[in-house]
Symmetry: none
Subunit: 127 residues, 4 copies
Amino acid sequence: MKIDAGSHVPIYRQIADQIRTAIAAGVYRPGEALPSLRVLALDVKVNPNTVQRAYDDLLRQGTVYSRRGKGLFVAEQGTVTAQQGTEKSLARALDEAIRNARAAGMHANQIRGLFNTSIRRVYGKGD
Amino acid sequence: MKIDAGSHVPIYRQIADQIRTAIAAGVYRPGEALPSLRVLALDVKVNPNTVQRAYDDLLRQGTVYSRRGKGLFVAEQGTVTAQQGTEKSLARALDEAIRNARAAGMHANQIRGLFNTSIRRVYGKGD
Amino acid sequence: MKIDAGSHVPIYRQIADQIRTAIAAGVYRPGEALPSLRVLALDVKVNPNTVQRAYDDLLRQGTVYSRRGKGLFVAEQGTVTAQQGTEKSLARALDEAIRNARAAGMHANQIRGLFNTSIRRVYGKGD
Amino acid sequence: MKIDAGSHVPIYRQIADQIRTAIAAGVYRPGEALPSLRVLALDVKVNPNTVQRAYDDLLRQGTVYSRRGKGLFVAEQGTVTAQQGTEKSLARALDEAIRNARAAGMHANQIRGLFNTSIRRVYGKGD
DNA sequence: GTGGTCTAGACCACA
DNA sequence: GTGGTCTAGACCACG
């Protein structure tokens, strides 16, 4: 679990995204328990409130459900909904950025160039 | 001029981006006056202060300049700086989307695939 | 009479300053009439209101006085008060700028360097 | 922190300049937190919005950065950019003062004389 | 009429 | 608690 404190993306969203990804990847299987609020908070060194908010996101989305006094568990359909969530959110962001650029008169190839620059900047030359 | 009040992007930034885009596209030419604060505020139905803030962005960037009591005018180099501004804004959006995706555990190639899908969706097969 | 429309100095102040300087230099002697509002407005191609405001400044300062229906005339002490006005205003501006720079920790020689750069920028190499 | 409400310099700029000066002088070191919006607003008895606007200047300049819910912090390069900002601000003030003087008909050498007087008045003979 | 500054007070996201 | 955005309404300088 890696938190980028410098990013403009809220920490709670970074946490929720990574948990969601882990569920999508099968790290947490349906019916399995998630790490407890306090444990996770200690792990990533943030305020428990922040973890709480991340878990709220997953609850609202139906990816996990809570058992009183027991903790949070991955829902039956959790793996599926998690997989959909991550990609859909990226696709939406890309669509919006590209639409804006097109409205500003940029050509597809200009956008492709900037995209390649960006992905290299984020991932480095390798990967 | 279309404002999405529900968007997470601040209204003043939406306005600045659209005006910048219009300048980049040559809708407003160097030396030409922009719509006055109050007129534009009435047009998009926001507070004049909000428009003012949008114009501030363009002023600081040197895309436009103000003449006392006369109005705001596109700078000599306005078309160029506006185009640069548009690129910078796209690069920022791409960086953020990619950083999010990476934090969520996606690989660069998955992102590349979604990007290609997005750009085809927006531009069509040609271009 | 030269007006710099691009300057941040209000036009009415530019006019007032130049009239004041002309009086200080003896171009207009005590008792002599100043150019009429409309004539001067046509001359420098500005709104008569703007010239009016410039003349207001000189009136308030006591450098000139008005004779109903006749026009504006240089006051008995006009030459003297005009001379004092110009230099005092510059000295005040310089003092403030230098005090600020000192508060920011700059050394006198750094300020001297920037001053020389500025004066060359405004006057050119010659003069 | 001293604000001159009567000055023609906007309050938000006075605040920004003084904070910038403090950073340049090392009063606030990189990584250190600035006084919060509301605290500073109470301190100098202005509206929090006005302080916000001052901080905006420093943010855009990259001298400080914000951490969500935590506060504003001096950037890694903050001391340097603050020093640069201070110089830029002095250069602007000198340019304007000299331009005014020139428009009022003064010669470069007259201005040089007044400048030397001013700098001696502020710094004394030594330095 | 124009842009520029300021206030008071609200609501939001975040920790 | 923090910063960020927005509104309503005021006053100013300028032309």
